[in-house]
Symmetry: C2
Subunit: 348 residues, 2 copies
């Protein structure tokens, strides 16, 4: 029913071995023979059996990309860049590889399960994107998995994620702390003294790092860090909206709101407007990430640009072994402060 290597071999009047070699192109085959085989492949419309070759060769051409939320452009942009380098169809790489984008939904269990699934598929490489969860047992479990994957020959790269100790994983981490510091420094420089902070989920490394940067800036300026000025939520606009109302309730005299990311910032803007406050005249707003829509907000969002596409591309190349990993296996990728319309000098 389905065409197999043997069928092609029969048609081309060669042995299966030869067909395999023509298809994999890593062994000398006479031009005439190759020609004949290729023609037979074409005529029979033969498609290689992936599992079979993966089994025989003990390697597969699957590359896993783990993301927290595929519907979020933050991850979409990285995934897209990674995939472009993985050399799926159209990529520069010769061998065609299938990029598998796995949506963990931010759940540690699903992360682990996907890792197992990829291990099961004998993935050629795995790229984990986005912040990790700060939970010792889980971190250990992930580290163990990553070690096992590495042992099995799977290259592991972390993109926008903190390094995993005791692991061979290459890490390209974003300097969230530095970016947040610069952002809050900017606001303080404008004269703000009462800043609200809308943080992400408590247990995420990204959340903590950004918060630390923010606090470092406050401390450096001698501003007391009132815990009531920080609210935790999810990384989405809805959460930004709710958190802003809460912050305003706690302290109506706030002059600036720093959000965990751009989506949250947009939610904050909406809440401020609904509350009759102008941006930035009454309250300044700042985001993080600089996703494409941020520049279209009105006023456009002051934020920290993260080179998502560049980092993803680099991670992809490293995963494919087409670029040298950074020294020590760890590189910190800096963000860039983008000062735009949503931040200004505080009133009064």
């Amino acid at each position: 029913m389905t065409v197999t290597l043997a069928d092609v071999a029969a048609r081309a009047q060669v042995s299966p071995a030869t067909v395999s070699r023509v298809l994999n192109g890593n062994y000398p085959v006479a031009a005439a023979t190759r020609e004949r085989v290729l023609r037979a492949v074409d005529e029979l419309d033969y498609v290689l059996n992936g599992p079979a070759s993966a089994l025989a060769a003990a390697t597969s051409d699957l590359v896993g990309i783990l993301v927290n939320d595929i519907a979020d452009p933050f991850f979409g942009i990285m995934a897209s860049a990674i995939q472009a380098e993985i050399g799926g169809p159209g990529g520069r790489a010769g061998g065609e590889r299938l990029a598998v984008v796995c949506n963990t939904g931010g759940s540690p269990e699903r992360e682990l399960t996907y890792l197992t699934l990829l291990q099961r598929q004998r993935a050629a490489a795995v790229v984990l994107t986005g912040g990790a969860v700060e939970d010792a047992p889980h971190a250990a479990a992930v580290a163990a998995k990553l070690r096992k994957l590495a042992d099995a020959g799977t290259r592991v790269v972390l993109c926008g994620r903190p390094p995993a100790p005791d692991t061979e994983a290459i890490a390209l981490t974003f300097d969230n702390r530095g970016g947040a510091r610069a952002l809050t420094d900017h606001l303080i420089g404008l004269g703000h003294r009462r800043l609200g902070y809308i943080a992400g989920p408590e247990e995420r490394t990204t959340t903590r790092h950004r918060l630390e940067g923010h606090r470092a800036a406050l401390a450096a300026a001698g501003i007391e860090d009132d815990p009531r000025r920080t609210v935790h939520g999810r990384y989405d606009r809805r959460s930004g909206h709710e958190a802003t109302l809460e912050l305003l309730r706690r302290d109506p005299s706030l002059t600036a709101i720093v959000a965990a990311n751009d989506s949250v910032a947009l939610g904050a803007c909406a809440a401020l407007r609904e509350s009759g406050l102008r941006i930035p005249e009454d309250v300044s707003v700042a985001g993080f990430d600089d996703l494409p829509f941020s520049i279209d907000a009105v006023p456009s969002l002051t934020t920290v640009r993260l080179p998502l596409a560049e980092a993803g591309a680099r991670a992809g190349r490293i995963a494919m072994g087409r670029e040298e990993p950074p020294l020590g296996g760890i590189a910190s990728v800096r963000g860039e402060l983008m000062v735009r319309g949503s931040s200004g000098v505080p009133r009064g």
Copy 2:
């Protein structure tokens, strides 16, 4: 080195066959034996070899999801919904399936190549999302591929994509024509007579359908369809920005701009503002899709909401055989007009 089924069998003192049956759970195994096997699996930290089992069983647990642009939330949202139903880790389905999100970048060749790659992997199902390219040879090639996939037992579902004739593929299409018609009807109802239209890439079905809906509305209102009022571009904000400037150049008296989608609409808004025009006082703007950020635009965007997540979920269920396909294998999914701040009565 790596643990195999045989190792587990040895440790549990049973035959490999029994281990396999315990793992697949589709054959009676005595409780005590099962217990013993499971313990051995655990102790040896055994991970099934995916390719090997796929080869032996002639099926795999991979499910392909083709998207045009993974960095675009339009596709991200659908992909996310599909995947949730595919029953990856955490899904309701028992068997764990690996969702493979493939980024075609809108390129017909890559689409085809990915389809081949999925065929090669003997994917369990494939979901194609988003508009197709209107190119007869390519459409035929895709149809042929889909037929072949179906023959091989792969379930094929189209989500937000026109039906593929002569194919067993189930199609869930968006009623782009109807949505566009309603949108332009709304603007005409407000009194607009000079509407600019920023269309997507010429060769896409989505582009054509939306444009047809728009034109149908114009025709119904007896408004001449000046071809100079339509500009084609990509489905991104940049394109919306450029196209708007072009439309304004051609006819500064426009009172409304209808965009191919929300991203394009945002670009249009930016261009209008830069040109010193107010929205909607001077020019009304309308988008399409109702992506999450649309409500945060200022003014919030009048658009057509497409039930992306719902359609994706349904497509996912159908792909998994957990929901009956629609009668005739084709269902049209309607959008809903969302009237918001960006559209108003024209000046004068």
